[in-house]
């Protein structure tokens, strides 16, 4: 493929490598200076190491900088990591934290521009262009998926249908009647759409739909094969996370062989999650990302907890920006339920709020009709036992509401008898994942 076929916005994808590294270094230096000047936590951590921003003289020097972890966003909730004054911040998004409070991220006008650019480059990489009709079925709202994809697709010159998530029948009606050529949503939701289309007698293979940009949750080659065989579209994996910018950190190209990281905006490292030491190119480890262009909320060495590895060979598409393997697992216990991040610790926080002490509980994940289902089973202790069925039903509802307040999702909750949840070495196995992906 010739790069001249691409939209000019994608030019940085093909930047000569030495030029790319020089761009990364100057942007890294600027980002570190800015974080040092405006983010007290980062300032303190650099001081503790006896470092100054001027000590970053090469890209390798990034390894001397402290990591940022999700708990840092919780501890500085809501605005503690912002590096720009509020009058320059034009947008906030939020995603789940590990316990009660969400994490909040901020964007300046320029951050929105960069984000829009990375989404445009992502869509171009998936073969989209002006004139495409894009059904954006990512959720709109605090979740970054909806608005992120929306701005990028619109800037590309595509016709965006901001349908947001849910209401499967309407999604299929719109897809068919509006002549949709590309869709953005979670891969599991698209599998659900396929399933429903068959029941409604809509043949996706006969529609103009030709590409899907799927992300916000891990998915397998097996799922890709099912999607492509049953709908006759190309299914592309898009990668991103709220803490860094949202979707549009990395994207597959026509070769569907790994995700290209937009390295001019995000500096990627792979580390050993145990020793925290950088790993040689090609080794599997945890992806660590540093933002190079973010103004409102620069992230230095953010531990994504996503396990992946760099490809060592250049991609046949000609992009000079490097590729990582698709994400299959994580180095922490985060669960991704229909695109929403859920931590067992959030479920615990929800239970604690109602019961005062933590009962034995278990999270059971299943996939019904291609949609993730999460059931929380809670043992009824004498402390919370009501001798009325109505009282128990009220307890159940209270716990459901408490968990929903914290996670944003409504779980199925089942009260079970004591000692019915299996314990191994006295400790319950908290998550049983029966999803067959």
């Amino acid at each position: 493929m010739n790069m001249t076929e691409h939209h000019p916005i994608s030019a940085p994808d093909f930047m000569p490598v030495n030029e790319l590294r020089a761009t990364q270094l100057s942007r890294l230096q600027r980002t570190v200076q800015q974080a040092y000047d405006h983010v007290p936590l980062f300032h303190r951590r650099l001081d503790e190491r006896g470092l100054k921003p001027a000590d970053v003289r090469s890209l390798e020097d990034v390894r001397r900088l402290p990591f940022t972890v999700k708990a840092d966003l919780r501890d500085t909730y809501p605005y503690g990591l912002f590096a720009a004054p509020m009058k320059e911040i034009v947008r906030l998004h939020a995603s789940s934290g590990t316990t009660g409070k969400p994490i909040v991220v901020a964007y300046t006008q320029d951050d929105i521009r960069v984000w829009t650019e990375t989404i445009m480059r992502s869509l171009v990489s998936c073969g989209l262009h002006a004139g495409d009709i894009v059904q954006n079925a990512y959720g709109y709202g605090l979740f970054t998926g909806g608005l992120g994809a929306h701005y990028g697709a619109e800037a590309l010159g595509a016709t965006v249908i901001p349908i947001s998530g849910g209401n499967t029948e309407r999604q299929l009606m719109v897809m068919k009647d509006f002549g949709v050529t590309a869709i953005c949503c979670t891969p599991s939701y698209f599998l659900h759409l396929i399933d429903q289309s068959q029941q409604m007698g809509v043949d996706l293979k006969k529609l103009p739909l030709r590409a899907g940009v799927f992300g916000a949750e891990p998915w397998t080659e097996n799922m890709r094969e099912r999607i492509e065989a049953q709908s006759n579209i190309k299914a592309y994996d898009i990668y991103g996370l709220t803490e860094i910018i949202g979707p549009g950190v990395g994207i597959e190209c026509a070769h569907q062989a790994g995700l290209h990281i937009f390295e001019d905006h995000f500096l990627a490292e792979i580390i050993d999650p145990e020793t925290l030491e950088p790993l040689p190119i090609g080794s599997e480890g945890e992806l660590v990302l540093t933002t190079l262009s973010k103004q409102a909320m620069p992230m230095i060495r953010y531990r994504t907890r996503d396990i992946t590895a760099f490809y060592t060979e250049p991609c046949a598409c000609g992009r000079s920006i490097r590729r990582i393997r698709r994400i299959g697992r994580r180095s922490d216990d985060m669960l991704i339920i229909r695109g929403i991040n859920v931590f067992p610790s959030q479920i615990e926080a929800g239970l604690l709020r109602i019961e005062g002490t933590l009962p034995h509980y278990q999270i059971v994940l299943t996939r019904e009709k291609d949609l993730d289902q999460m059931e929380v089973q809670v043992e009824v202790t004498p402390e919370v036992f009501s001798d009325e069925v109505r009282g128990l039903e009220e307890l159940r509802k209270k716990i459901v509401r408490s968990i929903e307040t914290i996670t944003g999702i409504r779980v199925a909750l089942r009260l079970v008898e004591p000692h019915t949840i299996q314990r191994s070495e006295g400790k319950a196995k908290r998550v049983i994942d029966k999803r067959n992906m």
């Binding site: 009824v380 202790t381 004498p382 036992f385 001798d387 009325e388 069925v389 128990l392 039903e393 089942r414 009260l415 079970v416 008898e417 004591p418 000692h419 019915t420």
Partner: protein
């Protein structure tokens, strides 16, 4: 002392649960005099009137069941037409809201068990009426 204790046990609404509980009581030598079950689709509460309440509680607790003691009032009802109505009418007139009730007849004596929010207050009101409240001993020797 005219309060009566029932033992309430939490059980999931599954086949055979009742049997597992009654097994525990049988093994402990506890005699069941009366039982009532309330369920919804997934869970249930089984309440027993037993001869050895504390022993039943201990045994169930040891076997890992979630159980509690429920204080109820046992009201003697005349075993003739209008008997229950007299009691119901008295409760209503005195604004005693009954959360749960069950009744049985034994040796020509009828008994109504009621669960109320405030047992002490209800007892006070009811003893001022013509109604007779039975003690745990009395109800077990009917």
């Amino acid at each position: 002392m005219s309060a009566v204790n029932l033992i309430a046990v939490f059980a999931e609404n599954q086949l055979g649960q009742m049997g597992r509980i009654t097994q525990v009581l049988a093994d402990a030598g506890v005699n069941i005099r009366w039982v009532t079950i309330a369920t919804n689709e997934r869970l249930g509460v089984i309440k027993f009137l037993v001869d050895k309440c504390d022993l039943a509680y201990e045994s169930l607790h040891q076997k890992g069941w979630t159980a509690s003691l429920v204080e109820v009032l046992a009201i003697e009802v005349e075993d003739k037409p209008g008997g229950l109505h007299t009691v119901a009418d008295c409760l209503a007139r005195n604004k005693i809201n009954v959360e749960n009730s069950s009744g049985f007849v034994s040796n020509n004596r009828a008994v109504l068990l009621i669960e109320v929010q405030d047992v002490a207050a209800a007892r006070q009101i009811l003893t001022k009426q013509t109604l007779r409240l039975l003690s745990q001993e009395e109800i077990l020797t009917l």
